[in-house]
Amino acid sequence: MIDLLPHIINGLTLGLLFALIALGFTLIVGVMEVINLAHGSLFAIGAYFALTVIAGSWFAGTPFGAWWLSLPLGLRYVLALAIGPALAGLAGMLLELCLRPTYGKPPLYGLLLTFGAALVIEELIRLIWGTGEQNLALPQAINGAFLLNGMIFSTYRFFAAGFSIAAIIAVWLFLERTSAGAVIKAGAHDSEMVRALGYDLARLRLVVFGFGAALAGLAGVVMVPIWGLRPHVGVDIVIPAFLIIVIGGVGSFWGAVIAALLVGLAIGITGAYAAAWSTMSMYLLLIAILGFRSRGLLGRKSALEH
């Protein structure tokens, strides 16, 4: 019999990382009612820009490049954590502008457009950064491993999980304690009412999409030192992210967080006893939860249920 505790810890850290990925996705779905299939590509864009910031590859061989690389890795990593998501956010805003003609049309239009955008972004990544595997260098302080109860754990994994907690709290505070957050939440609840109150709905959507994309980019910077970086890395995250927001209840912030933790635990614990089922476990969890509660854990009731 194997000791389960390390696997539970592993599942929780994985769940926190999934939560970070799903946050931006749920925000966009909640406010815009658009399933953004390019979310994974925005995740990848954030990671690739972070790579450029850390490695300084675009300026290699120039005096600026030499100066840039002389900066401490820790500083470049912190800059990457800011610049990568910011540029992913800008890319998201551009995508939102392209999406505008699809508003008011059947959801398939938005779905197809974001799917097409995902393909285009992946090819652009290949052209700009190449097709090969890349490595995001980490500062020594958060790299390496430590011993806990006789088991080796990755320091970075715990850093990433801690970072996810901080990001979740920051986003929650932003949504709950700022006027901009209140407008976003109101937009998710009833966008027409927000417009009637004099808010510029188009700008709100632009900002929300950019914010959601920046969160995807942030998740990319945090996740790729664990998962590795390659042009189609974003494809790997779209399905778990989608699954998590459905399990949690579409548009529900805490629903997404709880669902992410459950998915992480399901994968972690199945990995200990029946590894071949670890990927399948999240789908089984989806079936189990939606079987009992079709709107997800914390999803709103539909009009038909009233």
Partner: protein
């Protein structure tokens, strides 16, 4: 005679024309005759992945084939015909591989199919190829089943397989690191077959499997498996994990600093999967069929030709995947030359049992295309991370080279039942 009456001459002419058309129609009747005019190019369908788990390796595979085709055309083509290629992405998906093969044969009029990294894709392509009698070369997929139970008369397998690599590594690893092994196995055909080969050898040499952890394809987080490795404490971990899964695993093992203990045996390490990564991710002992710094005649020139042809490619030194793609096309076109025809059965016979000198292969020992299984029996190298590189790309340290006969996959030879020649549709490409 009325002007509308059909004359005997026109009737014979029409019948002749109809007969001629019927020879070309089909498209895939037995004994089909395809246009063999000197001006008609020889078309090769490249079935390399451009997306999915093996997109990166697929790109190298294709580059190798394209270089061999370019060199053949510089020499004046084959049998006086220019060689062309068509490439369609097989998406690292068996169903797509099947569809692509059908399209290349029936719509793109390809006379030969070449390429694959994923064993499931290679198997799917080869089933279609056998149906039409199209010679197919599986360049880079290394499941033992490819030259075993899934072998076909039209299919030739150019990569070393899991059994070859396991035979090269298992016995010495048991002696050095002990009999307690744990297996990490990618949950698809190549992983299963490679693990089965390892288990058989462990049984033969006195090793034992403490546990086998099945890793679903597409796994990005290996922490559960690595925690289990720590809990079970094996002497050796034998990993049959491929493609992007392997890249993620390497990264996570390196982060946990578990690369040195336990000992790691990786069946085969494709160059494309580790190129450009930090050296600490390249832990353990692994197999390969070729390395760009082998001190053998022709290697340096081959590398130079690659660098000249692909000046913009980020991968500045070719690896085993590129090499296999190149060798497959070169041997295929060589067989057409030797046969003096593009008739598929003649080409198959020219390939079967063909011996290739070590010098031509740029390997340590001669190779043979096994007439029983159609797998290239070749030199198998064991390597590890190079702690004293001579240049940036010099990341492998070759530890040993095994002769083909010492690592031959005898199980495949037992399981492979090639279709009879007369059960294989014939045609001229």
């Amino acid at each position: 005679m009325s002007r509308n009456t059909v004359s005997r001459r026109s009737l014979l002419g029409a019948a002749g024309a109809a007969s001629a058309v019927s020879l070309f129609a089909g498209p895939w009747q037995h004994n089909r005759v395809w246009a063999q005019g000197a001006a008609k190019p020889l078309r090769i369908g490249i079935t390399a992945d451009a997306s999915g788990m093996y997109a990166n390796s697929g790109a190298s595979d294709k580059r190798g084939m394209a270089m061999a085709i370019a060199e053949a055309n510089e020499r004046g083509g084959v049998l006086g015909r220019k060689v062309e290629f068509v490439h369609i992405d097989t998406e690292t998906t068996a169903a797509t591989g099947s569809r692509v093969a059908e399209r290349m044969i029936s719509r793109e009029q390809c006379g030969f199919l070449v390429g694959a990294v994923h064993s499931g894709v290679a198997n799917a392509i080869s089933q279609v190829a056998q149906k039409y009698g199209i010679v197919y070369i599986n360049t880079n997929s290394s499941s033992p089943t490819e030259a075993g139970q899934n072998c076909h008369r039209v299919k030739f397998v150019f990569d070393g397989n899991g059994t070859n690599f396991a035979k090269a590594a298992v016995k010495s690893a048991i002696e050095r690191f002990g009999p307690d092994w744990m297996l990490l196995t990618n949950d698809y055909v190549w992983g299963h077959d490679t693990a089965a080969a390892t288990k058989a050898l462990l049984k033969e040499y006195g090793g034992k499997v403490m546990e086998e952890v099945m890793i679903p394809q597409g796994t990005r987080d290996f922490t559960s498996a690595l925690l289990k490795v720590q809990q079970r404490k094996p002497g050796v971990v034998s990993a049959a994990i491929g493609g992007d899964d392997q890249k993620a695993m390497r990264q996570q093992v390196a982060q946990l600093k578990m690369g040195d203990k336990p000992a790691w045996i990786n069946s085969q390490q494709d160059w494309d999967d580790v190129y450009g990564l930090p050296i600490e991710t390249l832990f353990g002992v692994f197999g390969t069929t070729w390395y760009y710094r082998l001190d053998l005649p022709g290697v340096a020139d081959f590398v130079k030709r690659y660098q000249t042809m692909y000046p913009e490619t980020a991968m500045r030194s070719p690896g085993n995947v590129f090499y296999n793609g190149y060798m497959a096309i070169r041997e295929l076109l060589g067989a057409v030359e030797r046969a003096g025809t593009t008739n598929n059965i003649a080409v198959i016979k020219a390939l079967e049992g063909h011996r290739i000198s070590a010098r031509d292969r740029m390997q340590h020992f001669d190779a043979t295309i096994d007439a029983e299984t159609h797998q290239v029996q070749q030199t198998i190298y064991l390597a590890t991370a190079n702690k004293a590189p001579k240049e940036k790309d010099d990341i492998f340290e070759v530890l040993s080279q095994a002769k083909a006969e010492d690592v031959r996959d005898t199980d495949s030879a037992r399981l492979c039942k090639l279709e009879a020649y007369d059960k294989t549709p014939t045609f001229d490409a």
